[in-house]
Every structure is written in structure tokens, then in C-alpha cells.
């Protein structure tokens, strides 16, 4: 019942969210708090926050599965769903953030039709790739998990996939932190950023899972312990931040550190509402911390900045509780029972090595191809994308292997073919790129106007004169054989006898069959033309 109510609350929140989204997209980045020195605002902060929350699901299924923690199984399925929901929400924010969202495809790391490539030096590209891969693998992971409820043999594939996902999660947040740490902004610098970001992400993620598990009617004491542990870990990083950059935020410390300490008090901890409130306080603190971190200046917030809260939570709640209700109806409560009871046979090591090897070679191939095409990119800058690409291929192979066990071959090939066609269409569209756009009305090409600067005589001779008089001054016989009298062949003696003035008069005013060029050739150009003809005459045999 509570899930259903929250689902509806999420949908209700979506209504203002749609307005905010529409307004933000029609007005653009002008609609939220930014200026000409602060270019990254609340969407980026919200993105970092939601990516952090997404880590919860992966943490509780993949990481703890790999680490052989038993109690994770009770909450793994909802947590995985929350990952997908949070990732979808997180992916919206960078798109809104872009000045021209429809050009986001220029971030795809492929050779476009224009023979241009992304700048692999930019952390945003790493980010884009890593998060795309993370989303794909999270979906794979959830698919395997959900599939294992119907086909128990799929359980064997969860652990290998978890081994792919576990490092990827750390990788993703490291890259997100590099977005900041690699810049020259003093408040964003810090070699400890990756750890700082990962700890923060896990902290808020644990708080989210705590709330979600309370909603499922389960209490996980370990989660509460973890919350306390992480609050101390984060405190250490905050102190570090204070010492190196003198950044100090009492409200974050209050909500993020002091409030979780209430969990030490037994009677308080026993009350579910208090536990949820503490977790919410942690989530709020981390959200506020992300905001402070991304935009340290105190620009005045617009309604759109507040609207992101509705967009984030509305979207998350609608997707999460929607999916949760659907999965509950399909699987009822088998979710925990089956996955815990089936004995897991170890995945053959050889096959595992094969998949990892394939992923490694695929990533290596990509890097080699990219460096071949764009030799200026330092290979070190390709390292951040190497692992996500490798993980994508490895994870994909594992999933295909898993489903090839349980699905009819025809169905499997159909699915793969469908996927291939969709990806092909998508890839083709990106390859084609946008059309050349005429933002301004195109220039009208008409007759040449006489330029302000005199043109070189050689050029004028070749275009205006040579068609009759010949490029070398010896008549274009193909054309002038029709004329009578023939234009005279040029010779130095004739030039001397005629003189510059009368010659330029001929050029400008015409004579016999020769047209008048006044208005098309300037007087100074005519003089330089005569000079040029003299040199032609001298060269003449």
C-alpha cells in the first residue's frame, strides 16, 4: 500500500517536473542560476547527486555479492531497481545542462561522417561513456536477476557479472570526480576527490537503500552501522577539505554527520520513523554538499533550480515504485527465497577468462583505432575509457551466454538481431550527423563587385582577357577565329608606339570588337594590366 501511495506521490511530483523540464528546455540555461563566471549550476550538482544514489543498488547487489556478504540478498532486488531509476534520472540532468541538447550525439566516441572525433582528453567524454556503460550493465544485471527467478540456472551468471560491475561502479564515480579534479578551479582541485566522491556516493546510497528497505518492511541493522561508519569517513574528508581549501559548511556537517550519530542511541534507533528521518537527513546533506561543491558562489536560485528536486524525486519515485509494483505483481515474494536457496555452481574459470580477454581485446582494438585516427591524443587519456569499454563487452558476452542457456535459440537470435538493428539505426543516424545548418539566410551570389584593393594583373588577365587574347598573349584561336579584325598579337614595339594612356583607354572604353571594361576594371588595375602585357610580350618568342 505504501509503495502504491509513493508511486502516486511520484507521479504527482512529475507534473511540476514536466513544467520545469519544458521551461528549462525552451528557455535554456538562462532559466537557472548561472552567470558569466559560474557556468556549471544545479543540473550538474543534481547529476552528481543522483549518480551517487545510483551506486546504492550496485553496491548492495554487485559489490556485496562479490564480497560474499550474505545479508545483501534480502534487499538486492529493490536496490537494483533503484539503480536503474536513479541512473535514468541522473542521465536527464546533463542533457538539460547542455546549451544545445540536440547536439549531444557529438559526444559519441565514433568517427562521424565529418571525419571528426570527440576530444578524448575531456573528462566529459569519459563520463559519457562510463555512464552509458554503467546503465547498460545495470540493466543486464537486473535482467539476469529477474530472469533467475524464472530460470534458476541463471543465478550462476550473477556473480561473474557482479565482478564486472563492481569495479565499474568505482570507476564511474572516479571519472565523475575527475570532471572536477582535473580542472584549474581551486575549489575543485584535489587528488583525494575520487575517494571523496565514492565515499559520498556510497553514503547517500546506503541512506537511500535504508529507506527503501524500511518501505519493504525490512530492517537491516548492518545498514545502520554502515551509515555511522561512512559518516565518520566523510567527516575525515570534510576536515581535509577544510584544511586544504578552507571550505566549511556547518549545515552539511549537522545533517550529514551529527544527525546520523543519533543511531548510537538505542531507543531512538528502534523507531522506524527515526531511522528513515536520519537517512533522509543524510541524503539532504549530501545533496546540499553537491550543490555547494559544484557552484560555490551564492547566485540567486530561480524556480527552475528548485524544480530539479521535483524532477529528480518525481522521476525516481515514479520509475522505482512503478517498477517495484510491476515486479511484485509478476514475482510476488519469490524474489528473496529463490535467489538465496539455489546452490550456486561456480562459473567455469576458462570461460570467464575468455570473456574478459574478449573485452580486453575489444577495448584495446578501440583504443588502437582511435589513436590511429586521432594521433594527437595522448594515450594516457584513453585509459579512463578503457575499462568501461572492456566491461561493456565482457558484460554483454556474459549476458548473451546466460540467456543462450535458457532461451530458445530462435528467440535469442531474434532479440540480438533486434538489438543490432536498433543500434545500427542509432549509429547510422549519429554517423550521418546533423545537416549543415543555415542559421542565417544564405548569402546570395551574384556578380562580382569591384574590390577596394586592386587585383593583381595576372589574375585579371587570366579571367578577363585571356579568353580572346590568350593566356600567353597569343590569342585563343578556338574562339577568336570568328572575329574580324583579329586582335593584334602583342609585341613590345606596339606597346611603345601606343603608349600607356591610349592602351588604358582601350581597356576601359573599348575599341572595335573589344568591350568597355570601365566599372569592372579600375584605372590602376588597367595600368598594371598594361605592365603585365609588356612582360608577356617580352616573354613571347
Amino acid at each position: 500500500m505504501i509503495l502504491r501511495i509513493l508511486f502516486i506521490v511520484g507521479l504527482v511530483l512529475c507534473v511540476p517536473a514536466v513544467f520545469v523540464l519544458d521551461h528549462a528546455l525552451t528557455v535554456g540555461p538562462a532559466s537557472w542560476a548561472l552567470d558569466q563566471t559560474t557556468f556549471w549550476g544545479t543540473p550538474i550538482a543534481n547529476f552528481v547527486f543522483w549518480i551517487g544514489l545510483a551506486h546504492a543498488g550496485t553496491f548492495f547487489s554487485a559489490m556485496l555479492l562479490v564480497l560474499n556478504v550474505k545479508w545483501q540478498k534480502r534487499i538486492a532486488f529493490p536496490a537494483e531497481i533503484s539503480t536503474i531509476a536513479a541512473l535514468f534520472v541522473a542521465a536527464i540532468f546533463p542533457l538539460i545542462h547542455l546549451g544545445i541538447p540536440q547536439r549531444f550525439y557529438l559526444m559519441f566516441p565514433m568517427g562521424l561522417f565529418r571525419h571528426l572525433y570527440v576530444n578524448m582528453e575531456s573528462p566529459l567524454v569519459w563520463d559519457f561513456i562510463a555512464i552509458l556503460v554503467y546503465l547498460c550493465l545495470s540493466i543486464f544485471f537486473l535482467l539476469i536477476h529477474a530472469g533467475s527467478l524464472r530460470f534458476p540456472s541463471l543465478v550462476a551468471f550473477r556473480r561473474p557479472l557482479a565482478w564486472v560491475l563492481f569495479p565499474l561502479v568505482l570507476w564511474v564515480h572516479t571519472i565523475v570526480s575527475l570532471d572536477f579534479a582535473i580542472t584549474l578551479i581551486p575549489t575543485w582541485q584535489g587528488a583525494y576527490f575520487p575517494i571523496y566522491f565514492i565515499v559520498g556516493a556510497l553514503f547517500s546510497g546506503i541512506a537511500l537503500v535504508l529507506i527503501l528497505s524500511e518501505l519493504e518492511g525490512r530492517r537491516l541493522r548492518r545498514l545502520e552501522d554502515l551509515l555511522i561508519a561512512f559518516s565518520w569517513g566523510l567527516l575525515a574528508l570534510w576536515i581535509w577539505e577544510l584544511m586544504t581549501k578552507e571550505i566549511w559548511c556547518p549545515e552539511i556537517l549537522f545533517f550529514g554527520f551529527l544527525v546520523p550519530q543519533l543511531l548510537w542511541i538505542r531507543p531512538l534507533r528502534a523507531i522506524p520513523t527515526i531511522r528513515v528521518v536520519i537517512a533522509m537527513s543524510v541524503i539532504f546533506a549530501l545533496w546540499w554538499e553537491r550543490i555547494k561543491l559544484v557552484m560555490p558562489s551564492d547566485s540567486e536560485w530561480t524556480p527552475v533550480d528548485y524544480g530539479w528536486i521535483a524532477l529528480g524525486w518525481g522521476g525516481f519515485m515514479a520509475i522505482y515504485f512503478g517498477l517495484r509494483l510491476v515486479t511484485k505483481r509478476i514475482f510476488s515474494d519469490r524474489i528473496d527465497t529463490i535467489s538465496t536457496e539455489v546452490s550456486v555452481e561456480p562459473f567455469p574459470k576458462k570461460r570467464m577468462a575468455l570473456y574478459w580477454g574478449a573485452g580486453f581485446s575489444a577495448a584495446l582494438l578501440f583504443v588502437a583505432w582511435f589513436i590511429l585516427r586521432v594521433p594527437t591524443v595522448p594515450w594516457v587519456r584513453m585509459v579512463p575509457v578503457f575499462f568501461p569499454l572492456m566491461a561493456l563487452v565482457t558484460g554483454f558476452l556474459i549476458v548473451v551466454d546466460a540467456f543462450s542457456r535458457v532461451l530458445n535459440r530462435r528467440v535469442l537470435f531474434g532479440l540480438l538481431g533486434g538489438l543490432g538493428i536498433i543500434l545500427g539505426i542509432f549509429g547510422g543516424l549519429i554517423y550521418q550527423g546533423g545537416k549543415t545548418t543555415f542559421d542565417e539566410s544564405p548569402t546570395i551570389i551574384t556578380t562580382e563587385k569591384m574590390p577596394a584593393i586592386p587585383r593583381p594583373a595576372e589574375v585579371i588577365w587570366k579571367s578577363r582577357c585571356a579568353s580572346c587574347h590568350g593566356e600567353d598573349g597569343h590569342l585563343n584561336r578556338k574562339f577568336v577565329h570568328e572575329f574580324y579584325p583579329l586582335p593584334r598579337d602583342i609585341s613590345v614595339s606596339r606597346f611603345d608606339s601606343l603608349g600607356v594612356d591610349s592602351l588604358s583607354k582601350v581597356i576601359l572604353d573599348g575599341r572595335a570588337f573589344m568591350g568597355a571594361y570601365r566599372g569592372r576594371i579600375s584605372e590602376s588595375e588597367a595600368h598594371s594590366l598594361i605592365e603585365y602585357m609588356r612582360t608577356l610580350a617580352k616573354e613571347a618568342p
Binding site: 519544458d22 540555461p29 556549471w40 544545445i100 547566485s299
Partner: protein
């Protein structure tokens, strides 16, 4: 199941209500398009307004005279400027010339209040500050699409059709001289095509001082067509041309005969502290070396 049907109906009506509301949202097609004005006095008023803001300049630190670029060590041209702070009195003529040369739009009142001016040259404590065209430019490194890209001629170029507006370059620019097109100046009638050579920019792209790239391109192409070696002699940026005291000098750092090389001879060469290590091409001259 009755419960869920009721819920479904509730949800559906909410969604429909939302969609209906969305349908009547403000439609930009109804907004009248203001008439574009190309009255230069409007631009002058805006420059005055922008110059009244107090933007701190930060420290100036001495650097070496810019030499060949590390990335393009074989090139014979590296364009840049020097601004003589002993002569400059911060009159702001360069800002106007720059705006007219590069078709820089004005901003509406709302934007002006937030300080979101588009001026490529900004007066900070009476010192004109523009993009320094760093040889080791941090903006180029972080641009995901390569829209901010180094040119072998020493410019840090901006390719507008490739810009997706991630604003990473602006975030990473230590001197904060990049400007983002927050509004569609053309739709609001705030931009004018003073110079037919320079394209107007769209909403959502970054822009900044281009070192009057159009003038360099025109001159270079003419020289190449005539088969001459091109060192950019005779080209001047709009601000350098407009400066009433001739405090701004444009030229080629690698050409010892260029006015730039002559102007810096024996002078103290300075730049902003934040970009001192980035090999800037636009420098300040203060006192004797």
C-alpha cells in the same frame, strides 16, 4: 483489484490533467518578435553599464615574451596582442569596436542585471581583459567535442557549429573570459549584423575573443592566392585599430619585424596570475623590463 483500478483512474486523470496543462503552456510563437535595432548608441549604453561593475582584476605577474607554441613548434606565426597599461586609460573604445567587428549582441535587462553580458573584452579595474589565447589552453583540453581548439597560428579558436554548450571550457577558464549565449539575441532583436564577415551565434554556444580571426583568414588566403609567404603583416585586430591611444598592439610574436615584437621590446611583460603558467598570447606591458 478494485483498489488498483481506482488508483489507475486517479493516475490517468492526473497524467491527462498534466498533459492538458502542458498543452496550454506559454507558446513562444505567440510572443511578438521585437524589431532588431542596429543603433550603435544602444551598444554604447550597454558598455557603460557593464563598465560600472566592479570586477576584480587579480594580480599581474611578469612572464617571458611568448615564443613558439609547444604544440606547433614548426609554425612561423603566432598571433597575439600586447596592451600597454602605462598608456591605457580604460576608456572602453576597444569594447565597442570589438562588438561591432564581431557582431556581439546586447543582452536584455534581465540578463544585464545578472551580469550576463556578452562582451568579449571586459574592463576589470580599468584594464581591458579578453581571452589570452593560451598556448597551453585549459579550455581546449576539456571541451568534449573539440569545439574549443588550438589553431597553429596561436589562436584558441572556437568552432560554433560543433559546440554543444557543455560550458566545461568556461568552467575551466582561469581568467573567466569566455561568454555563454544565454539568450537568443536574434529572436529578441538584440543582435545586428554590423560586419557581414562574422556569423551570428546561436543560443547555447560559448564564444570569446577570436583574435579577429576573420581578418587573419582573409589576409592569409589573399597572400596564399598570390603565392606570398604570410606573416600577418598589416593585419590588425578591431580593438587595436580603435584604441585612441594605441595602447593595444596586434601582431605576430614570431616575426621580429611585427609591430607587436617592436612594442614589447624592452618592456615588462605581464599577465594575470591565474594564467601565468599557461603561455598566454595576449599580454600586458607595464614599465620597463
Amino acid at each position: 483489484m478494485d483498489q488498483s483500478r481506482r488508483n489507475f483512474l486517479k493516475v490517468a486523470s492526473l497524467v491527462l490533467g498534466g498533459l492538458a496543462l502542458w498543452g496550454c503552456r506559454r507558446d513562444k510563437n505567440f510572443a511578438p518578435t521585437p524589431k532588431a535595432s542596429s543603433d550603435i548608441s544602444l551598444w554604447k549604453i550597454e558598455i557603460k553599464q557593464a563598465m560600472q561593475r566592479n570586477i576584480s582584476l587579480g594580480d599581474l605577474v611578469p612572464i617571458k615574451i611568448p615564443g613558439p607554441l609547444l604544440k606547433f613548434s614548426k609554425e612561423i606565426n603566432r598571433f597575439g596582442m600586447s596592451i600597454d597599461l602605462d598608456i591605457c586609460n580604460g576608456c572602453g573604445e576597444c569594447i565597442l569596436a570589438c562588438m561591432l567587428e564581431n557582431n556581439i549582441p546586447r543582452v536584455n535587462d534581465n540578463e544585464a542585471q545578472k551580469g550576463r553580458f556578452m562582451h568579449w573584452i571586459e574592463m576589470r579595474e580599468g584594464v581591458p581583459v579578453m581571452c589570452s589565447h593560451c598556448g597551453d589552453a585549459p579550455c581546449e583540453k576539456v571541451c568534449p567535442t573539440g569545439a574549443a581548439v588550438a589553431s597553429p597560428d596561436g589562436m584558441s579558436a572556437m568552432i560554433y557549429p560543433r559546440c554543444i554548450g557543455s560550458r566545461y571550457c568556461g568552467a575551466n577558464c582561469p581568467s573567466k573570459t569566455r561568454k555563454f549565449n544565454y539568450t537568443d539575441a536574434r529572436a529578441e532583436g538584440l543582435s545586428a549584423k554590423f560586419n557581414p564577415e562574422v556569423p551570428l551565434r546561436n543560443r547555447g554556444v560559448m564564444e570569446k575573443c577570436s583574435l579577429c580571426v576573420q581578418r587573419l583568414q582573409n589576409d592569409r588566403l589573399l597572400a596564399k592566392t598570390l603565392g606570398k609567404e604570410w606573416r600577418g603583416m598589416g593585419v590588425q585586430s578591431a580593438c587595436a585599430m580603435a584604441c585612441p591611444k594605441k595602447a593595444i598592439v596586434f601582431g605576430n610574436w614570431l616575426d621580429s619585424e611585427s609591430p607587436l615584437s617592436q612594442a614589447v621590446r624592452g618592456r615588462g611583460v605581464y599577465t594575470l596570475r591565474s594564467i601565468a603558467g599557461l603561455d598566454p598570447s595576449v599580454v600586458y606591458l607595464v614599465g620597463r623590463a
